[in-house]
Symmetry: C2
Subunit: 433 residues, 2 copies
Amino acid sequence: MTLRLDASAPDFETQFKTMLSMKRESSPDVDATVRDIIEDVIARGDEALIDYSRKFDRIDLAKTGIAVSAAEVDAAEAKCSKEQLEALDLALERIAAFHERQRPADLRYSDEAGVELGWRWTPLDSVGLYVPGGTAAYPSSVLMNVAPAKVAGVKRIVMVVPTPGGHVEPLVLAAAKRSGITEIYRVGGAQAVAALAYGTATIAPVAKIVGPGNAWVAAAKRRVFGQVGIDMIAGPSEVLILADKTANPDWIAADLLAQAEHDESAQSILITDDASLAEAVVAAVDRHLATLSRKEIATASWRDYGAVIVTKNLDEAVPLADRIAAEHLEIISENAEELGARVNNAGAIFIGGYTPEAIGDYVGGSNHVLPTARSARFSSGLSVLDFVKRTSILKCDASSLLAIGGAAVTLGKAEGLTAHARSVSIRLNALGA
Amino acid sequence: MTLRLDASAPDFETQFKTMLSMKRESSPDVDATVRDIIEDVIARGDEALIDYSRKFDRIDLAKTGIAVSAAEVDAAEAKCSKEQLEALDLALERIAAFHERQRPADLRYSDEAGVELGWRWTPLDSVGLYVPGGTAAYPSSVLMNVAPAKVAGVKRIVMVVPTPGGHVEPLVLAAAKRSGITEIYRVGGAQAVAALAYGTATIAPVAKIVGPGNAWVAAAKRRVFGQVGIDMIAGPSEVLILADKTANPDWIAADLLAQAEHDESAQSILITDDASLAEAVVAAVDRHLATLSRKEIATASWRDYGAVIVTKNLDEAVPLADRIAAEHLEIISENAEELGARVNNAGAIFIGGYTPEAIGDYVGGSNHVLPTARSARFSSGLSVLDFVKRTSILKCDASSLLAIGGAAVTLGKAEGLTAHARSVSIRLNALGA
């Protein structure tokens, strides 16, 4: 049953805590299998990729080749409608424009002691993008991962995508082409992650692996972390909607269900200070559900994890929103801006009734890869910063070393690191200090 | 034997690759033990902390209390010398000044379609700093972790430090006090990490845990990741020095050993285009080693992982430096600036003969928490960015939703996410589109 809470009820705090600690996902323990697959790819390279693809994807890469050819990509693109390609291009243009503003700046300055300090940002050399196969292959996800990497200046971006039975969504290949990917391999699962991390004869290794995937992919990413960088491991997705009496219950219901249709462990929560709006939304959800194509998934998500919380006013909702730390936060209220400014923990905030969360999934411009499962308390969505790294720079001359070196010698000795102290004092001595 | 490589030798590439893939650390597998400890702390809270501290740290927290009192901190500070406290203050002031420049900027703008976009950075609510006990308790590490958190605006910063036999380094407590920490607990190991992540009656949980630690601490951080954020898991430390004939071999030797004294799996590498400098450095290392207090550790590190590589010129060294991706890179050469500008992968670069790496460890101002074990290929040192998170903001009005909404409906349908499409089209329909 969808949870119904009243913030003024005496047991509210207990019930809210229970909701927060609800475990929404139980991943199968595939770690041992994944370890074996990774070791096999390290040992046998392409041969292992061919074997696993025969077994898991029912495709013979020895015949098709591991790489997807430019001609195949062109053919896929030709299958897409003009309307789809135009939508893709609009999305890409808007995403790129937003992320252009995220380029971090280098710095170099001298301080009073004469020490030169600073940092320099450089793009990662190469990035691998994992794209899930089957129906979970989302062209929008390709755009959201590639655009910031391109803006960052990453030279080599590689895409891997499983092609079960030889099938790949044409619009996924079109999205890859239009976002500038020229290196695509038809491999998936832990074996694809291993190939990206360690390399095979066909696939050169990358510096970082990004993109969503199933339990096998997630376990493989955890395992290769260190050998390469990885992005976050995404958990089940969620939306929190704060709404007052000015909101349209039908629109809210649609937004709650857009989240719920993702998968059965998605979570949709409404907090409102208007009890009659709450009732109207619950009724509208039931109406919408009847005609949804992904009705079973959305029904299960709404039943098991959906929640409607009534508060005295929306001020009361702000600390609750911070504790929920939702991936997506919609605020539909007279003072939406002001409420949004007071929320600290949210992956993205969608302000006002004309900003359904789905706009952010596709064409808003901001990134749809956002912190899930309450991790907005300590992390951020995907950005250009995920595709660059910072090198700090330090430069002393004789005079500035004389100014600050003595303190380094003192601290080195205090820490028992006498070679540290000596590496400074040997210079200070030479300078006659 | 310290590795000696000649870049013009026919087998150089093979040997260099072997050096890169050398595994310098084998952590004991403590994961199962750590899992049990975490579960016990979740179940029994403070009682578990008391039991583990009796067992591992030979201290009875039931008598001493779990929290370190302000009086104890003051007493510890009083034990430090004036010279030490002044060195600490100089370091803190310089570190804070550098990190002040890392505050990221918020953004808000409207684009041509009339969509409002932007982001807002907010500090993490609370952070836990793990400080190792015994001789590895470094006051400089306290400063390096706390200063960026303070600059970021983190309100609650908690320190945990094991006190084996009741002992804690006075300068560590002084560093905590002077950097503004008022909440300190005398617990360590996996139990301290568990307490920070899940909370106990005494210790309220935090949003992120940072700081170095042994294998138990590292395993615990990996396990609680997701429940809370964590910083990087640091591997063995390394320095790479590029030097030409203008460099002082004695100073280089001191710098190589400052790295080697950290621990037996530290790595010190010299690349030079001057074969006679290489010989002089090797001889100087032997001379210095004889008189070092941490002679055994430094000898083992230099013997097992040290390397001296002679190249034709330093241009040849740049791609090698990128492949090594050292935590610390010193460049001592006539054209140090120009060479440094061409290196892509390094945690920090120390330019010129008057910038020994130890300056960066203590008083330079930049952070000494840097990516180890080749991870500078894809990650950066600790900064203010590790203590803030970004919330993206999106706001459409009726007109801008009309401008871009159609493309979102098209993409939602193409991805089979019809509730996504409906959440947009229901509004477009209401607007008469």
